[in-house]
């Protein structure tokens, strides 16, 4: 089973909730936490798991210009302007390439072959009885959706997967949500947070994924936000007040300390909500 933690807005508390809920749930359920915010992965700052890292490669085309006849079919098929014809020879901009293999496929004389290009890393490790995995794209590469797809390709795990998703509502988030059994939306009930919440909720609806909300950093001006959830018929599992102490613990990467030392009853609704979800999923196979 896979639960994806999303928010639309950055900084709403995706990582905080992913880590806290994973730790609390892992006392009773086998959990694998996956950080799919590959542009800025942060979950492991709170787990300090020693990661084993593996490079991830993509395919990029390489031209043998001696064979090339300059027919231009490669440039013709390329949808990303990654191959363009200059003086009847293809010029390849690998930065823009999506590794679709189209140019190689249509070349009538096999002048194009594919080579490996490293574009990121996938790290894996453990933290307590929890498994952990993260993707980390090389700075300057634009293939984040590809890396997220690679990171989340395996859904066969017996463990409940909790996925810390990237911000936004575009390609990266779509890939993180693809194949999800459930989306947990972390929402900040501010005007910015509300605007972004509407977008991410719409995305889960379009992708046909059931969702629930946890309200974070509630400062007491949130009546309209709860009304909105009601009208959208999204259940609110928990509401967590703004807590300066949490910011302190968060700042030094010590969410574990927060869970040990502070009052965390407001997270209970979220833990219980997910637990009953996991149980009913197990029952229904």
């Amino acid at each position: 089973m896979r639960i994806v933690v999303v928010s639309g807005k950055g900084g709403a508390g995706k990582t905080t909730f992913s880590v806290i809920l994973s730790i609390l749930l892992s006392k009773e359920v086998d959990i694998e936490l996956i950080d799919s915010d590959v542009e800025e992965p942060n979950s492991n700052l709170f787990l300090n798991s020693a990661l084993e890292s593996a490079s991830v490669y993509r395919k990029i085309p390489r031209l043998n210009s001696e064979i090339c006849t300059g027919c231009g079919k490669c440039a013709d098929i390329c949808a990303y302007n990654s191959v363009v014809m200059v003086k009847q020879k293809p010029l390849i901009f690998t930065d823009l390439c999506h590794s679709c293999g189209g140019c190689v496929e249509v070349c009538p004389v096999n002048a194009l072959t594919e080579a490996d290009d490293k574009y990121g890393e996938i790290g894996s490790g453990t933290s307590g009885n929890m498994m952990f995995k993260e993707g980390r794209i090389d700075v300057g590469k634009i293939q984040s959706p590809m890396l997220i797809k690679e990171l989340l390709a395996d859904k066969s795990s017996d463990r409940v997967q909790i996925v810390d998703a990237p911000p936004g509502t575009a390609c990266n988030t779509v890939q993180a949500l693809y194949g999800a059994d459930f989306a947990l939306i972390v929402a900040e009930p501010t005007p910015f947070g509300t605007s972004d919440f509407k977008l991410i909720h719409e995305l889960t609806r379009v992708m046909n994924i059931d969702s629930a909300v946890v309200v974070n950093k509630d400062e007491g001006y949130s009546k309209d936000f709860y009304k909105l959830c009601e009208s959208l018929e999204v259940p609110v599992l928990a509401a967590v007040a703004f807590d300066e102490k949490l910011s302190q613990y968060y700042s030094v990467g010590n969410l574990k300390g927060y869970l040990e030392n502070e009052d965390i009853t407001s997270y209970k609704g979220a833990v219980d909500g997910l637990k009953s979800l996991i149980m009913s999923e197990k029952k229904n196979g």
Binding site: G11, E39, N42, I137, I142, G168, C171, Y178, S251
Partner: protein, 290 residues
């Protein structure tokens, strides 16, 4: 050419939009562009009238015509994105690469231009601004950023604006690269947390790799002064400008609700700090100020 300053952060939620909103108001004769197209917020905090809107058409939707399809499976075999199954295309997996369309021997794959969202040009008290709103789940956010910049730059030049301020997206990916490319300078707004520092390093690496000057701002500085010092040291070690610290203030959220900018709360320390930071950013990033 109009000076262009992009505000990014790496980590989301550090206060990019609130600060951009404030800078926009502080800078006389500025133009703004919200390039966080899949989570635009500037329009939320600015009373505005939309002057002009355009559909953003990019890429194609692909579909298999069941009547023409001869079930040869060639497209399915060649699709690297696993988007074709049972002679149907899954739009959430499709990356619009064109291969199925190109290789189909029976012209069964149809493609139609895709409407990915809307771009609005609006007028506010602080000045004109342009914002894009990508349809949730759509691709081509980087291309939309480029189009938002194109429209805002053209109009800013027409009306003689002195500066274009870009509210950028979080992360270091495609839309961020499109937001910072060919700007005069980039402001990175961070916060004194290990996450903020880690994300700052990646964002700064991206921008300096493009040879664009960087000025760093710490927001909610009082969360952790020790990490503030680490951030300032990182700036100094890498010869990046440091524009200053802004302490936590409830005024940031209040200003969103009131649709005002932080600097309009005249007597507040938040307003003073933001003003000081903007002054330093101008000094750091604008050539004529040096």
């Amino acid at each position: 050419m109009v000076d262009t300053i992009a505000v990014i952060s790496g980590k989301g939620g550090t206060g990019k939009s609130s600060l951009t909103r404030a800078f926009f108001e502080l800078e006389k004769n500025a133009y703004a562009a919200d390039c966080d197209v899949d989570g635009a917020n500037l329009f939320v905090s600015l009373d505005h009238d939309i002057v002009e809107s355009e559909d953003f058409i990019a890429g194609f939707d692909y579909e298999i015509d069941a009547e023409k399809c001869v079930h040869c499976s060639k497209c399915e075999k060649l699709c690297r994105f696993g988007a074709i199954k049972d002679f149907k295309i899954d739009s959430f997996l499709c990356e619009g690469c064109n291969v199925c369309y190109y290789v189909c021997g029976s012209e069964a794959v149809k493609k139609s231009p895709k409407n990915c969202g809307k771009i609005h040009r609006a007028k506010s008290n602080a000045g004109f601004f342009v914002y894009g709103r990508l349809v949730a789940g759509e691709e081509n956010s980087g291309k939309m950023v480029s189009r938002v910049r194109e429209i805002s730059k053209k109009h800013a030049e027409e009306i003689g604006s002195a500066m274009l301020i870009i509210d950028g997206p979080p992360g270091v990916g495609c839309p961020v690269i499109a937001s910072v490319t060919a700007t005069t300078g980039v402001v990175i707004v961070t916060e004194p947390t290990l996450s903020g520092l880690s994300d700052l390093k990646r964002a700064a690496g991206l921008v300096t790799g493009m040879n664009i000057p960087v000025s760093i701002v710490i927001n909610r500085a009082d969360i952790n002064t020790e990490i503030c010092e680490q951030i300032e040291k990182f700036a100094a070690d890498n010869a990046l400008s440091f524009a200053g610290r802004i302490n936590y203030s409830a005024i940031f959220n209040e200003s969103q609700r009131d649709r005002r900018s932080v600097v309009s709360y005249e007597e507040s320390s938040a307003a003073d700090e933001v003003k000081k930071v903007w002054k330093n950013i101008r000094k750091d990033l604008l050539k004529q100020e040096k």
